[in-house]
Amino acid sequence: MISLTINGKAHNVDVEPDTPLLWAIRENVGLTGTKYGCGVAQCGSCTVHVDGVAMRSCVTPVSSVAGKKITTIEGLAENGVLTKVQQAWIANEVPQCGYCQSGMIMAVAALLKDKPKPTDADINDAITNICRCGTFQQVRAAIHAAANA
């Protein structure tokens, strides 16, 4: 049993210690907003926050995050109020199929905490998530919108 704190709630998950956090979140805890896209830290669709830092959960062993504070897309909004990033995502209609967007939003939320007014170069550096539908322009516009909201 490994104890995980996800979105402020404690969960005991019964998995091998080297199981990627992604699968524990999706299957043991049942929060499926965090997505599997590649499994090898390439696409970013599995991004969650661990103690406030964006991490690709598909290559993060569960044992390495025991006792740390994990936030998933489901836990981003507080008391049902969407964050600025999520609101900007709706206003700019960023998602197409939407599959990459949980990870995209988590990565952006972490970026804005670090750099409240990121430049285009900051965005290029930090947001390396893949969107197969090609929403990159909308993502950039929405990041600036969220930063200026």
């Binding site: 043991n28 907003g33 199929c97 599959y99 893949i130 197969r132 322009q137 909308q138």
Partner: protein
Amino acid sequence: MTETRGIDRRSFLVSVAAAGGALTLGFGVHPSQAEAGAPELTAWIVIARDDTVTIRVARSEMGQGTLTALPMLVAEELACDWSKVRTEFPRPDENLRRNRVWGDFSTGGSRSIRNSQEPLRKAGATAREMLIAAAAAQWNVPASECSAFNSVITHGPSGRTLRYGEVAEAAAKVTPPKDVRLKDASAWRLIGKPTGRIEVPDKVVGKPIYGIDVRLPGMLYAAIAQCPVFKGTLKSVDESKLSGRRGVHNVVRLKDAVAVVADRWWQAKTALDALAIEWDAGEGGEVSSASIREFLLGGLAATTAGVGRAQGKLAEGFARSARRVEADYAVPFLAHATLEPQNCTAHVTGDRAEIWVPTQNGEAAMASAAHALGIPTQNVIVHKTMLGGGFGRRGVTQDFIPPAVLIAREVGAPVKVLWSREEDTGHDYYRPVAMARMAAGLDASGMPAAWHVRMTGNSIWSTLMPVAARGGVDRQFQEGFLADMPYDIPNYLADYAIRNTHVPVGFWRCVNHTQNCFFKESFVDEMAHAAGIDPLTYRRRLIGTHRNANKFLGVLNAAAERAGWGTPLPPGTFRGIALNEAYSTFVAAVAEITLAADGTVRMPRIVVALDPGTVVIRSPPRCRPRARSCSASPRRSMARSPSRTAGSSSRTSTTTACCGSPRCRRSRPC
């Protein structure tokens, strides 16, 4: 619509909500569920007492906006309050039972909007007239004195009103009018106005709406390995390494695949990796990229080929021309790489099956499951989920369904079969490999008097549906070079020597246009270059008096103007222009690229002008997002920069497209 067999929908929803912890809504297979017993006005429209209008959507939603656009077509004519509209995917088995009342479920070929205008707008108008008739009967006044607006019917002379919800039940019994008049486009209040896509809010909070998110009581997970050589088969599996592994239930042997079923997917995947599997590669074992290339080069040189378009006298045209321009082009197989890997959840009990699947064609999914199991089609219930990308991968080819139902039958419990990214990429129905050999004869003015377009490569139709490529002609492979070409060349031949490899091929967003536009427009630049004429001017001349000259010139000039065509560029930066028509959408693009000393190509800017006809959903950003979407492969980075995200390697977030450079003849999108 609510009746299900196997796992009933209610207990499914409850279990999902419970399992989901923080989830407040049930699994969003149906974004909403028409209130049980609420009256159905037409097959498309259910109106509840509280005025909620449920509009059924036959086509799949994969980010292209059908879930919003198709209901809009209905709601526009229905004159209902858009904020009260809910949507629902009707089930394919229901469609079958009701004589295909919802028509075709297949979602592809950019057809959903084009083919739905008439039936959906008529359905809305029909229901509106029925509501008005019911209200008029209640008031005992002529229907002609009544009007409908925003879900309210008003009797003009007396000012009395009734809400849709109040008369829906009576309206459902009214005989539908035979002929209804549709609104004039100038009177549209909804179509083309910014409203926001219905499903977007769910997509920013991680709602479980995709196939991969399905969770059923007692569900197991399966990981699958398919023969690494196409058309090869399974020889043997050594399970001994699996003894004592936690959570592992079964090893399922299929003709060309092995699956491990376990309590959790990661257990299944790691167990699968530990298996010793022997494959029989079969005939494809000897094929290599080099042998495929040779095979296709043979197609370029072949003396016979299917003719897609011919006009004038080619030989005479060449004989009269002042100079000859030639070029060969090649593109490789491309995997669709939907970001949601292929998956299907299945539960098979006796001669019945229930599946949950992200599919572009619910009816094909139903048929595929029935065929694989050898059971009647109507015994299969298909629940369509949202798709994490489609791009044609999940349409005609439903290859992810037979393994899922066969595994589920063997296991006897609900199973979610999920392909790993590697397995998905390695077992796609790829965009076809293709080559084009161009030859043109330019006249004294530098314009083509003769043009021969020889194509070769894997034909989708001749492999998936041979009747569609009768006589060795597959027009889809040649699209862009046929009647849809922007240029009328006096002496012209477009022919295609089909060369099918053992690699499975399938449809792809915009299918062959994605490569043919690259071939065609690159070669137009070769001709312009040879003639010493500016590529924009050259295209304007080539368009000449084409029947769609207005449309082509419209987008071409718009793109050129906005891009500042002809203005000076910094050293190392280049501009390219291209023009195409695909499925009645006219498009021109000007790309700016930089070429670094080390050969790295970047595209800092692309200007796209698009004439798609009527725009149904108007998005907040200026341009429809799909116009600059993923038709090109995203696999090449434009910018490489160290990532700051923990655990990531370097990757880019820049959009990609062919670089558009006049000299570019890369064998794949740059």
